[in-house]
Amino acid sequence: MRYCKSIILPFAITLISVCFGTSCKKLHEPPSTELQPPSTLEELAALFYYQTIMNYSPGLNELSADNLYQLYDFWLQRSPVQQNAYLWKPDIYGGDTAAGDYDLCSAQVLNANIVLEDLQKMSASSNPALWNKLKGMALFFRSWAVYNMAQLYAPAYDPVTAYQDLGVPLRQSSSTSEKTTRATVEQTYDQITRDLQEAVPLLPAFDAINNNLPSKPAAYAMLARVYQSMNQHQLAERYADSCLGLYNQLLNYNTLSISDRAPFNKTNPEIIFKSNVTDKADALYELSDSGCIIDSVLYQSYATNDLRLKAFYIINEGSGLPISKKSYNGIVFPFTGLASDEMYLIRAESRARAGNTTGAMNDLNTLLKNRWATGTFVPFTTSPDSTVNLILQERRKELPFRGLRWTDLRRLNKEGYNIKLTRNFNNTTYTLLPNDRLYVLPFPADVISVTGMPQNPR
């Protein structure tokens, strides 16, 4: 049997070592083409390209605000959370745990934290430009989500009580062992502004094609929006100014096909950062037979030659009532992102509050010149005392359904504007008083029971 030993054994050993050598290497291959841990910077970036998560924002704030009213039959077809939020019910969930807004913001924070954690593990040297960009984007997205959450679940910023008012959770990692607690309002806004300031030098310049991703002007714009919501107008002016210094394009509405259902599209040059209301808030969809009607005071406030009347709204043939056209970036969900028109209005309001009437009116007229029919616009003039009010009126007309009104109501009422909301609905009158505790929405019940965080009193 020497024959066998001399041939078969070496042959077998070679065969086996080849087979198992390959097998050992194969142990490090990912088991699936679609499920993998991120191993490159490009794969991490894929988290931010996912617009279905990253470019949406809450809808409960707009549903609770005073830009709209709903017809009864239309309201009946909405989810319980939307129905209850519309009527300012103390418990808006009614046992429904599918709380879209909270989960959406938490998912955005998670993606940002995953990127921040993995960047620490990956070397910056392979592509330092992308590494920095991703870090800046992560910080921007985290503050974007935390800010949006704070507009729903935390009270408006009050410098006197912010150190003790309860804000929202500020999760720092994707780890499940990190316990979720409620930060104070002070800590909440501290992190939002700190993240944004850290992001500014890391973020890339504005790129219209990729306006779903944050850029330098987007971070400035966000800082302006945040400081305005805190009633810190000096800082709001500074950052609006920084933003407009980098990007100040406006769209002349005379160039629009104004009678279209979608006069705007995604190339709207005013857009700095793209975001739309989550699809959970379907009451806010643009639909030809929508029962979501424009508030009559708002609708009647537009002058005849103001092109926004026709660009934003259409009369529904069925009900004879005004409803929304497709949004500012041409899709059916309202636009809630950052845009240059908002920056002009923030700077104007801040300048007016600081007594710089000329500067304020310059900003306002620069904007409105692009909104009125050619040849009809006469620049506004006003007395220093009424400048702020005029700008606030114009702000409401320029930015309806942009997710801003609820925050404006909260900050203006803090300053004593005393705006009372009422809804006459199905033979009942519902009222929301200024600074009412109903201005702070409740956290979903399961979040409270799992974390033990204190619920907002309603």
Binding site: A12, F20, S23, P31, E34, E43, A46, Q51, S106, E117
Partner: protein, 835 residues
Amino acid sequence: MGKHLLLSLLVACGIHNCIYSQEKTKSFTSHYVNAPVYKIIEDLEAVFNLYISGHIREEDINITIDFNNSSATESLNTFCHPDRADAMLDSMKNNDVRKDLRKYYYQNDITRRYTLNVTEGNTVNAYHLLLGYDHTTTGRRGNEQQHFVLSFNNQHAWLKNRLQLFTSARASLNKNINNNMADPPEIYPYSKLTDDDGHALPVPKDHKDSYPGTADITKLLDWKYRPVDEISFANNKTNILELISNYALEYKFNDNLTGKLIYQFEKKTTENDNLKSLQTYYTRNLINLYTQVNGNNVSYPVPMGGILDRGKSSYQADNIGIRMQYAKMWDTIQKPGQQINLLAGFDSKIVNTQSSLRRLYGYNEDVQSSVEPNYLIRYPIYGQSTAKKVPFMNRSVGTNENFLSGYITGIYNYQNQFVVSGSMRQDASNSFASRINDKFSPLWSVGLAWEISRARFYRLRLPYLKLRATHGLSGNVYKQASSETILQFNTDVSTAQLVAAPVSLSNPDLRWEKSRMTNFGVDLASNNNRIILTADYYFKNSTDLFANTQIDPSIGMRNAIRNSASMTGKGFELGLTMNNNLGVIKWASTFWLNHSVDEIKDYKGSAVPIGEYCLPGDPIPLKGHPLNSVYSVKTLGLNPTTGQLVGVYKGVASFDYNTILQSTDVSNLTWHGSSIPTYFGLFNNTFRWRDLSLSVNISYKFGYYFRRTSINYNDLFENHVGHIDYMKRWQHPGDEKNTTVPAMTFPSNVPEDTYYSFSGNLVERGDHIRLQEIRLAYKVSKDTFHWLRSGTVNINAGVNNLGLLWRANGHGVDPDYINGFVPSPTLIFGLKTNF
């Protein structure tokens, strides 16, 4: 050496009377069982009375009442005139949709099986050939399965049988037609599926029968759903081709050492073509929903034509193994001596799968053309205040799993009296979870057996007595668990960008599940093996068990798989085989009894709303109870004035069902017991008289609980799902003394329905004894029938699924088939010959 040829042919046929089971139980709903149709109509009258008296609105009635073949409004008018209402009710009482379902939806389930075996050969070269064909018409009309199989095994030896090669190849083809996949429509028992001439009639589905309004009717496709036509319009074919080949090369180096190389190749491809032509409701409905009507302009974002869903998947596995076996005996002829067996080996397996689905819209079967819709635009949906994109169904996924394992086992046998054994193995794979391998030592087990009956001092009259003991550690990883963050990658349809979303969060604490088990056993046998008994007792301790745990939604996800539980388990297994002679009849019986219980010792998952414990699905561990348990929420019976179910929250009566179900305080729960049998087994008997044999097989399950179904008013109003308990519902004050079924309210109180379905009133003992099978077999052999040229013919006939002999619950529910669908008896005939 002479070759001998063996041929055998097997013919078998099984008939399963599907209609019987459908009719007895589920059909359109298991719940109208025995409930006279007129009774339900009477109660619908009550609903109309509520409408007429202004208690409910017309919109609500439209949901409930949508009569077959007549629009809702007509029915309503009819009802509002008492004279006409009576006539209508009378005519409806004569309809029973179950008769129509029997005729158009179901058929007998018949399986025919033919097998031909050919074996020929000797020790140098032998082969086995198998040819098989099965044909099944399933219980649903329009479905059919065919199965072809060809297999060939060959063995060849060289070098005086020291080198042997085994090869085998098997090819099989399944051709399935599934044209009746949809469940029977949920419709009123007094509906009709066809008119008197046999033409299919529409039944309401998704929307009111009178829908759409007349305005757009010409612009839309026919929007009616005719269940009987659907079966003939469907065209859904699946072909599965499977090839397996095995090669094993074995070489005996000497009398003790044997080496073996094994290679197996397996490939399976599945192709499914599901063509939903323009005639099918699915396609008509989808086109209609997306139809854009703008004055006289009509456009169809879902292209006009059929919809073809074409799925392909493949599975390929390569398996390579090598093992070395060493066996040595120190033996004398008269007396067994010592024996040692060692086996060591490596196995490597590589599994690749690919699956893809592609949907073609506007499909024209004749020229195989299709139209690409615009997937990016959100279109307003016809008649609904919402907008959606055209469903994008194209998808392709691949997986790649690689395994490598090494093992060694050893057995030492001393004079067949003592046996000591041990084994050890180490596994590795490329699944994310097993990258934690380095944190874990190999798995192992040791065993000891002592055949006392061979000991010198043994004096008992039992000829065979053996004691056994084993102890071992086993481990397990859950494939979906990962220590790293896992993202799901995809390509955005509109931007062509690589996009990702997290599906699993990093978990540095991920560990193997570990289980230590100790087993003691005894085997004994009487003279001539008339009684053989084996008994085992085991206990085990499992730690770091994986559980899909609800996590804090603030993290950004709602679920995660975690090492979060530990549990203990114990049980015993008893087997008894007896061979008795009852005169000329031989009676062989086997009795098996299994007992096992477990208890959660620790669970670290976060608190869960108590309602979740009562839901079906993955069990949620609760410390101090078995993993699989039946829990219920507490009630204080029915409110004597309203018949409403009284819930209990923190020991106090409450009607706030949602608050109770959302609370995480488990003291609001009642634990009934295990949801899986803690005692189960079988009792099989064969009686033989000459060439005739009769077997009777009985199985039993004890020591567990289940939750039965009852009336759910929301289901009744929305989906026409009734239940016999409807007849027992609370109707008048005083009824609460005799019933636990809450009063009907309209519109339904959904939280109350849910709370009632979770309540202890519906938890029953699951214990039962089942008559599994009776089979009669007869062997026609040459000895008795001399005209047979050669071989034998075996004939058998039997019945399966004969039902329950005894059950603990008093509601007539078969605990193995809680939702209805009790399989009806199956008849089996078989014929097997050898030539």
